[in-house]
């Protein structure tokens, strides 16, 4: 997946403000239940885990299952107490991990 993940998050927040974080990654999320035209099962290949941390501390993480549609979109919120960096990671069945970061400034 050459596409970079998409993250929507405010650049700035007031101290202790709860901000909304939207993330989306381009991924086929092949369920492992479909057959190709010759009748063979198409092997499962999904994003199986997503994690978000802020300045190294966990904020949100989840496991994703094969029934989740292509291009998984996750939205959650977090209280921001200080300026810092949100780190995001998506773990693929093939072992690769796609990462991204977004800065936020407390004003």
């Amino acid at each position: 997946m050459a596409e970079k993940p998409r993250i929507r998050i405010p650049k700035q927040a007031a101290k202790n403000e709860v901000v909304e974080i939207k993330t989306l990654i381009a991924h086929l999320m092949e369920s492992g239940q479909r057959k190709d035209p010759s009748g063979r099962i198409v092997p499962r290949k999904i994003i199986n885990r997503f994690a978000c941390s802020f300045n190294g501390k966990p904020v949100f993480e989840c496991e994703l299952e094969p029934a989740i549609a292509a291009n998984p979109y996750l939205q959650f919120s977090a209280r921001v107490e200080e300026s810092g960096v949100f780190s995001f990671s998506w773990t693929d069945d093939d072992g690769s991990v796609i990462t991204a970061e977004e800065k936020i400034t407390v004003v």
């Binding site: 596409e3 970079k4 929507r8 939207k22 989306l24 381009a26 086929l28 292509a70 291009n71 979109y73």
Partner: protein
């Protein structure tokens, strides 16, 4: 006339001067792969014995209703199964509510509700002929000629007739949504320009701008001549497609991208390639908000429009549908074919190329044409076929004044 293929060096001055009137185009050769090969995974049945947009070969209807020499001995249970068999042209249920057939699961309403046809006083011969080839009674019918086109055999039609004769009470729907007369018209409410909702926006934000700057074999990029596309193309795509005298056919955005890029940058971005779709989507996106206005007044454009109109009413394929049969306001538009809503011609072009959630890919209008044809068991054409140009011009004219909103998002 500008002959384009050899314009590698020093093209920018000349092109700018002539941009408004004659953009360089690679005239020779096709703008799509030759031979055109239908997409993998699309139906492969042989439909060469039926009309297409390029030929008229379908069998003729019977001159008069067929006489049944002896009474039919059909099996109503077999007929009920056939009526709901989706492998036979989508099943009778695609267009008709038919009592218990298929569990009354999402039938369509293109044709009348047949749940009480058994009380209608129609004899076997009339029912047989209507299913065999309804054109013997109604020259305006949109019903496929099941028998004449060999989709159902005589004995299968006999089974269907036997089933029809058993239909004497209104269909029982499991849920209100199953009743096509009560099913609300679908309304697309997603924000098609939000990249978190519409993955086609990724082409606009990343892929197309990168291609715009990519230097081709001729040493130039799109940006060499068009440094500010956002400004330059605010309305351009809303006037496409247009008659192109150098090609002697109607030219749409996608074919323009293929031929213009070839002539200027040397890139080979054939129609429906990933690159072509990205740039065509981008160029139409840049004209978002502009009302569509195509030229159908010039003599050649008028001729193309009239050909397009004629093609839109030509019945093609084994199912014998024309564009107008399904999408004409006076035919089946704004009705249900099974669970799918048939839209009018107006509103069918302003959002193309469009993201198809069911396909996880962006389709341009020519690919949509191709799929329509394959879905009605007709041969598709290469994307650069002149017939598609005529049809696209006719469709664009029906959409005059509609504002572009590209890329769209649809099921």
């Amino acid at each position: 006339m500008i002959l384009a293929a050899s314009m590698a060096g020093g093209i920018s001055m000349q092109t700018r001067a002539q941009n408004a009137r004659q953009a360089p185009l690679a005239i020779d050769g096709p703008a799509s792969p030759v031979p055109w090969v239908r997409y993998a995974g699309w139906p492969t049945r042989d439909t060469s014995k039926f009309n297409s947009l390029t030929r008229l070969v379908s069998p003729a209807p019977p001159k008069a209703p067929l006489k049944l020499e002896k009474g039919l001995t059909g099996d109503p249970a077999a007929g009920q199964k056939l009526a709901a068999d989706r492998s036979r042209g989508g099943s009778c249920l695609a267009c008709h509510v038919m009592g218990p057939a298929g569990g009354a699961d999402l039938p369509g309403n293109v044709g009348p509700d047949l749940s009480e046809i058994g009380n209608a006083g129609r004899d076997e011969e009339w029912l047989f002929n209507y299913v065999n080839d309804a054109r013997v009674y109604n020259s305006d019918t949109v019903m496929p000629p099941w028998g004449t086109h060999g989709i159902f055999s005589e004995s299968e039609i006999g089974d269907i007739v036997a089933f029809l004769k058993t239909l004497k009470s209104p269909a029982k729907f499991k849920a209100a949504l199953d009743d096509p007369m009560k099913r609300p018209a679908p309304i697309e409410q997603r924000d098609n320009l939000d990249a978190l909702i519409n993955p086609a926006m990724w082409l606009i934000e990343e892929r197309a701008p990168a291609l715009w700057k990519a230097t081709g074999p001729a040493g130039a990029s799109c940006a060499s001549c068009h440094s500010n596309p956002v400004q330059a193309f605010r309305t351009w795509a809303a006037a496409m497609p247009r008659w192109e005298p150098r090609l002697n056919k109607v030219l749409g955005v996608e074919e323009f991208v293929a031929r213009h890029a070839k002539a200027t940058t040397g890139q080979s971005w054939l129609m429906q390639s990933e690159e072509n779709t990205a740039l065509s989507t981008y160029l139409r996106y840049l004209a978002n908000g502009a009302p569509m206005v195509v030229d159908v007044a010039g003599p050649e454009a008028k001729g193309a429009y009239q050909r397009g109109e004629a093609l839109s009413t030509r019945k093609i394929g084994a199912l014998n549908f024309s564009c107008a049969d399904c999408h004409g306001a006076d035919k089946s538009a704004s009705k249900w074919i099974r669970g799918q809503w048939l839209g009018e011609l107006r509103g069918q072009l302003d959002h193309f190329p469009t993201w198809r959630t069911s396909q996880q890919s962006v389709w341009d209008i020519r690919k949509r044409f191709q799929w329509c044809q394959v879905a009605i068991w007709a041969d598709d054409l290469p994307p650069d076929a002149p017939e598609y140009g005529d049809l696209e011009l006719y469709l664009a004219a029906q959409n005059t004044g509609q504002k572009l909103s590209v890329p769209g998002i649809r099921h």
